[in-house]
């Protein structure tokens, strides 16, 4: 009741002041105001020290001044005028001139040191932080038009690397924190925690729902999440309401997208010339395209262009309602996102709704979060870019919107398979529901009990429909091989059901400048993933694509369950807010390991010292805050499929003994398992410096770190001679084991600088990330583990190009070195010692070890996709009602494999091949086309297709205009801003393929451009409006 009274008093005071202010203001307009000199001193609320350089502006004018070195100011102002005091890092102060002296106390704004940072199982003030934690707020996240928050934070946090390997609508970018931390597919991904609920996969939160993202980068910060956290932790806090009047916000944007990169392909004339070169050197099995495509010269089909959609629309509308009173606040946000893809047949639509409510009393505080997501993704046909490369330009273009085709030529299979793919429908629908309730109950003044109960339900339904169609030749005869008589339907259903229960006790006590916080807790998590796939063949009609209209096929079905238990404890201690110490220990148990290796313990310790709070620290005007941090922490990973520690026997390995339909049932052990499978562990060391200059005008955070991973888990392919059976959709032919050690070390720098240029307020910020990744050892001496197949169409017949090998970064390209082509007869004779069937014009491989034969031992390390460094740079400018911001993101020193080029070479479609070696072009180093598509000239494992993948991209340019609040007030609108934005408009790079930003969650595939869905440039217009 007392609080309510105060509240009431406060409002009436404010009303009174406002009325008075308005009166005086009006008076001052009508009566010529009397000018006077107003003086005073500006001091900081925290330390009582004067603040130099504070800007003063008389409201409604461009008259201003600033404080001197002692915080003193003097300005000519009329009685009744308002002086606005602004200083970076401090809250603005408005003073109504009522006397000649006004001393001003400025408070640090919430973006400063008292900013609350989410740290996992609680929050800390920024000044208390002892680890390496980066943070990004909603206003920065909302600058990128995307359904994926990961791509919105690219380049915004040092040490947090975001790569968009597949830019198809609805796909998420990969986030890697402080380098590749796992050999496994998906293993380097961070742990996501959304309002206290953990997610191993990207939780796909709608960006508009996010209030802030904190990233726990070092082991000391992350170890509170123990075995889940070896890839770092991303803490997502969603928006909450504030007490006060109900606020309605509408944000909308609409835009168009266009792919502005490509790969040079031969046109009809060039294709025929390449074909001519090919058969100059091959006498048998000659293939004349024009003999079978009589009107081929009339066509010059641009298949790649035909498969791309220019000006594909993208739009997003988000409406939120928030407010609250009497301790109860709410925020409800609904978002609709719709993106048409820039590639044929791809689009994404998502509806999301989040409701967060919060209730606080003296003893209790309760938070309930509910979120519902419904999305529908249509995917472009698999390998579409590679198909577009493969198709010959002398074939007429095809309209896939029919079920009957007339295709001339004698091998129409070639084109009809492609037409069939264009007709395919492939999509997935995701429904997800997440909810949790968090409760804190104050048992005593210092003691709080907390509970967090959450449930997360995720259902993904995949559908693939391959319609039937008929292909006739020019004489009207049906070609059965080219036709698809058998319409097929495949349905997949994956359901993930997770629950989490966490109980914590917090103890907090301050005595004699000692501040102590204790946390103990335990957590239980259950996760169950059930998947089945079924389908039908010979669907009777394309118009009735349901199971009942076809012949059922055999279904697959599996259930993966994982349970885990954790016990955790944390101590936060500081003395006089100068010396900080944090110690954490977590003990985790996971059902993914065998009985003897089930538990792991992950301790950590970190400390910080705020130098600037020491009496000897003199330079407080320039360096307003200086802190050094040190952390040592351990984390682990249990991110493996369940049951992997035990070998299995599979059924259905049958044989039809007895003839005809008789079948004898067989069982077999398809592969191996390591019963001694154990946790992967990670020891992380971090040293950091936080500096604040001129009270937040500029800031610098530098961290250096080293992380040692041991007993890295990887599902390796045992030698083929060990006889594992590959089975569709299963990984029996791989073998999960602890294979080696890995080190990441690096430096991260984040800085910002604010400066006003006249009435232009400018903010510059930048990030720099340099990480060195190195495989320290593998469990077998001299071992190398290959992976990374650039050619997705012919994975089985092409060589992998990346390795794990001690001494090199993960995913280092290890390929044959080549030295141009064989040009003379002498060179040929010499080379035939190595390769007896070599011809002139063949690529010359180097026998680097000189043993007279070519083998893996001759392959050399040729760089990796992991860059030397990456950087981000942002400028935000405000001028009156205008705002302009630009973000740049760059990657330097990354080597990538141009798989699309390799495929175009092997398919004889790359326009380079026009200039390949022939007797008439005897100096060319472009190898002569050969009919064998596994020919050494085009096989994957050479340096021919490696390229520099460095790039600098303009991520965003946004120009906004906010309408005058006085004008809006009349319309009953609080805020209205409209903006224009260009996203990814320009990329500077030497890369000759589609886009150098490639990536994969498989560390050995990360540098492969495999005809990935390329990034589009997007041009948008949007508005945000608040009532």
């Amino acid at each position: 009741m007392k609080e309510l009274m105060n509240f009431g008093n406060y409002t009436s005071q404010k009303l009174f002041r406002r009325t008075l202010f308005t009166l005086i203001f009006l008076l001052s307009l009508s009566v010529y105001a009397q000018k006077t000199t107003v003086k005073g001193t500006v001091i900081g609320a925290d330390d009582g020290q004067p603040i130099p350089g504070v800007n003063l502006l008389i409201d409604g004018t461009n008259l201003g001044s600033s404080t001197d070195f002692d915080g003193f100011y003097s300005i000519e102002a009329s009685l009744g005028a308002t002086i606005v005091f602004t200083y970076v890092g401090m809250e603005d102060i408005k003073i109504l001139v009522s006397q000649t002296t006004h001393n001003v106390v400025m408070k640090t704004s919430t973006t400063g040191l008292d900013e609350v940072i989410v740290v996992g199982y609680g929050t800390q003030k920024k000044r208390e932080i002892t680890g390496a934690i980066a943070s990004v707020k909603s206003d920065e996240i909302s600058k990128t038009a995307t359904s994926d928050f990961a791509s919105a934070i690219q380049g915004r946090m040092a040490g947090v690397s975001v790569r968009q390997g597949n830019s198809a609508p609805g796909e998420n970018a990969q986030i890697t924190i402080r380098g590749i931390t796992s050999f496994q597919e998906g293993g380097s991904g961070p742990l996501y925690v959304v309002d206290g609920v953990t997610f191993i996969e990207n939780p796909n939160i709608t960006p508009q729902e996010i209030e802030s993202i904190e990233v726990l980068k070092d082991g000391a910060s992350a170890s509170i999440y123990g075995s889940r956290a070896s890839g770092g932790v991303i803490l997502i806090t969603t928006k909450k309401g504030k007490e006060g009047k109900m606020e309605v916000d509408l944000n909308s944007y609409f835009g168009v997208q266009k792919i502005n990169s490509g790969i040079p392909l031969a046109d009809t004339k060039e294709s025929l010339y390449i074909n001519d070169i090919l058969y100059r050197y091959q006498e048998t099995n000659q293939f004349d395209p024009l003999e079978f495509n009589k009107d081929g010269l009339l066509h010059n089909t641009d298949w790649m262009g035909d498969l791309q959609i220019d000006l594909a629309p993208i739009q997003n509308h988000s409406l939120s309602v928030s407010g609250g009173k009497n301790g109860l606040t709410y925020n409800v946000t609904g978002t609709y996102f719709n993106q048409e893809g820039s590639l044929y047949n791809s689009n994404y639509e998502k509806y999301s709704l989040r409701s967060n409510t919060y209730f606080k009393t003296e003893k209790f505080d309760v938070q309930a979060n509910l979120s519902v997501n419904v999305s529908d993704q249509q995917k472009e046909p698999y390998g579409l870019i590679y198909d577009a490369i493969r198709m010959q330009p002398y074939r007429p273009a095809i309209d896939p919107n029919t079920d009957i085709f007339q295709i001339d030529g004698t091998n129409p299979e070639n084109i009809s398979n492609f037409v069939g793919k264009l007709k395919q429908e492939s999509g997935s629908k995701i429904n997800s529901f997440n909810g949790n309730i968090r409760l804190n109950y104050k048992l005593a003044e210092e003691l709080t009990f907390g509970a967090n109960l959450g449930k997360s339900f995720y259902s993904k339904k995949d559908r693939f429909f391959n319609p039937s169609y008929l292909v006739y030749n020019d004489l009207g005869a049906i070609n059965i091989a080219a036709s698809n008589l058998n319409a097929q339907l495949r349905l997949g259903d994956g359901t993930n059901n997770r629950s989490i229960a966490e109980f914590t006790m917090n103890y907090s006590k301050s005595f004699n400048k000692h501040n102590l916080k204790l946390l103990i807790g335990n957590t239980y998590e259950k996760s169950s993933y059930e998947f089945y796939r079924t389908g039908a063949d010979n669907i009777s009609n394309n118009k009735t694509p349901v199971l009942g209209n076809g012949e059922p096929i055999v279904a697959t079905h599996f259930i993966n369950m994982t349970n885990s238990i954790s016990y955790l404890a944390r101590v936060n201690y500081n003395y006089k807010w100068k010396y900080f110490l944090t110690a954490v220990v977590r003990h985790d148990g996971s059902s993914n390991f065998g009985a003897s290796e089930r538990y792991g313990t992950f301790p950590s310790i970190s400390a910080a010292w705020t130098l600037s709070n020491e009496p000897f620290f003199k330079n407080k005007d320039k360096i307003s805050m200086a802190k050094i941090r040190f952390g040592y922490g351990t984390t682990g990973s249990d991110r493996i499929p369940p049951y992997a520690y035990s070998p299995v026997v599979i059924s259905n390995v049958d044989y039809p003994l007895g003839g005809g339909a008789n079948l004898a049932s067989g069982m077999s052990q398809p592969g191996y398992a390591d019963p001694n499978l154990k946790w992967e562990s990670n020891i992380s060391k971090n040293f950091g410096i936080d500096l604040d200059f001129h009270r937040g005008k500029a800031g610098l955070v530098i961290d250096v770190y080293e992380q040692d991973k041991e007993d890295m888990l990887l599902a390796i392919v045992p030698p083929i001679s060990a006889g594992s059976t590959p089975v569709n959709d299963q990984s029996y032919d791989k073998f999960l084991t602890n294979v080696g050690n890995l080190r990441n070390k690096g430096i991260e720098i984040a800085g910002h600088f604010n400066q006003n240029f006249g009435s232009i307020q400018a903010k510059f910020s930048g990030t720099f990330t340099k990480n060195e990744n190195k495989v320290i050892s593998l469990s077998r001496e001299g071992e190398f583990i290959f992976g990374g197949y650039p050619n997705i169409i012919r994975v089985g017949q092409t060589e992998p190009v990346a390795v794990l090998e001690a001494g090199y970064p993960v995913g280092t390209f290890k390929v044959y070195e080549t030295a141009g082509t064989i040009k003379t007869d002498e060179e040929l004779v010499a080379y035939q010692q190595l390769i007896p069937d070599a011809q002139k014009g063949d690529l010359r491989y180097l026998d680097t070890n000189g043993d007279g034969e070519l083998s893996n031992d001759d392959k050399v390390a040729k760089g990796s996709y992991q860059p030397d460094f990456e950087y981000g740079f942002t400028v935000d400018l405000n001028y009156k009602q205008f705002d302009l911001s630009m973000q740049l993101y760059g990657v330097e020193g990354s080597t990538i494999y141009n798989g699309a080029k390799q495929y175009a070479y092997s398919m004889k479609r790359h326009s380079d091949l026009v200039y390949s070696w022939t007797d008439m072009n005897p100096t060319s180093n472009i190898p002569t086309p050969r009919s064998n598509i596994e020919h050494p000239n085009v096989q994957t494992s050479t340096d021919l297709f490696l390229e520099d993948g460095s790039f600098l991209r303009v991520r965003n340019i946004i120009l906004g205009y906010s309408f005058d609040e006085y004008v809006l007030e009349k319309l009953g609108i609080d805020k209205l801003r409209i903006y224009l934005s260009a996203q990814n408009p320009i990329t500077f790079t030497n890369y000759t393929g589609f886009d150098p930003e490639v990536g994969s969650n498989n560390p050995l595939d990360g540098g492969l451009d495999r005809g990935n869905y390329p990034i589009s440039a997007t041009y948008l217009t949007g508005l945000s409006i608040s009532f």
């Binding site: 099995n285 091998n411 229960a501 049958d654 339909a661 067989g666 030698p719 001679s721």
Partner: protein
Amino acid sequence: MSQLKTYRLFFIAIIFVTSCNKDFLSIENPNDLSAESFWSTEDEVQQGLIATYGALQLNGLLGGNAAIELPVRSDVGRPNNWNANAIGLNTLSFNENTQIVQLRWRDAYIGIYRANQVLSNLSNVEITDNTHVQIEAETRFLRAFFYYSLYKGYNGGSVIIHTSIPEMRSDFYKKPSPATKVYDLILADLEFAYENLPMSYENSADLGRATWGAATAMLGKLHINEHNYEVAKAYFKEILDSNIYALTSNIAHNFDEEHEFNQESIFEVAFSIEAKPGTSGGAADGPTGSEATSRSRGLATTQGGGYRTVMPSYYMTMLFKNDIMDMTNPINANRTGTAKYSVRASSSIAISDDDNSTMYQLSSDKGGAYNNNEASYLKKFQNWWLESESDQSISGINERVIRLADVMLLYAECLLQTEGNYIDALELVNSIRIRAGVVPLLEADYDEVSLMEHIMWVERPLELMFEGHDIRWEDLTRWGKIKEQYERLADKSYVVIAKELHEYDPNIHSVTSDKILKEFVEAFKVYSPDAHNYFPIPSTELNSNPDFLD
């Protein structure tokens, strides 16, 4: 008040403690049985043996890929103009990345691993001695069969040997054993099978299991390829003398679905389109696996719904065209019209002017397109009597791996090599020719040398083309005649006029030079026994087994 507080604390402590449940972290795999609890009953080892048979169907062994691609390396097949895999094999530009090179290796080792699972666990199971010996003999026959495929296929016969299940990770990484060791292992396994396998099975449900005859024929093949003609001869003779086997009345019965496991069949790999037809594609194991083979569509004509990836070579086509029918043979009584080609030709390949043949229920010239200078198409082991091959790329025709005609010709070869007995050898050849409906050889025209030439260049290709998939290559390497044959073939020129293939004769054919057709020109140019008699070790093995070369 303080009591209440204590109570609350107690309540919370209870939550902490009670949730600690030990079983919480023990989860049983609901998807597959654990191997540790398997292999304890007779039924289970029998199922392991069935899985070992199942490996025979795999794509690299007797499944689709091997059936389609292997014949194109030897003189019996030619590729279509655009299939890069087949052209690569045909021009001998295959390498360690070539699909069939990888598949055959992988699939043979899958079979070996399965066989070793049975053999390693057999002694832990309580069964009668007879059952033990029977299971062991069948399994060792199959293991020998897989090793034989590797021994004849790769690296001069020097391949990796596994005779037990690798336990530790280090057990996986093995270096290749010398070819002699591989040979010894195959020999020991086959001899055990030879001594312990039954002549036949009483129960028809066991049709398809390995028999004494299969083991004996394999022993004969193993020895003849080592030029141990005397030993081989004895084994082949045992088969002929056993009176278990006889030539079928019609050669076509060896290539169709209706007459599987017939009197001539010694070892077959069974496929079925009825039992687990599977989805598109070939025989695969596991939950969505299939018991059918994908060979049919790859080899069928456009009219049959296929890709004719590989067709009979021009050489092979001319052999059939020139194989003169014996109109006095009653087998030819029903043959009408101009009746140019034998029953053997009509059931092996489609030639456009074969009046006594149909192809996909059309006349022979309509059953294939005969464009792109194509001269003939494969009918052997194809479903040519249907309207088309299955649109799901599957077929249920069993692959006859060893049949009596093969053994008879090998025995004839042994007779010639060991004792120059061309009289008996000629009789064997003639019994095959008579069944084929072609004119028998006259004793007067042949001696021990010319009969051997006839067997090498006429009879074996005509009778056995596209069978067992690599028989022809095995033959050619045994004889050491690959270079000679490529030279002969590269020298020939052909023309296709009105869908008919002719040897090019400048005096008769007035075609422009670019219509003159050649084959095996590249193969002849590049062939060297060291590089091409065997496949190289596939890159998949080298990349997964760093110890291989050290």
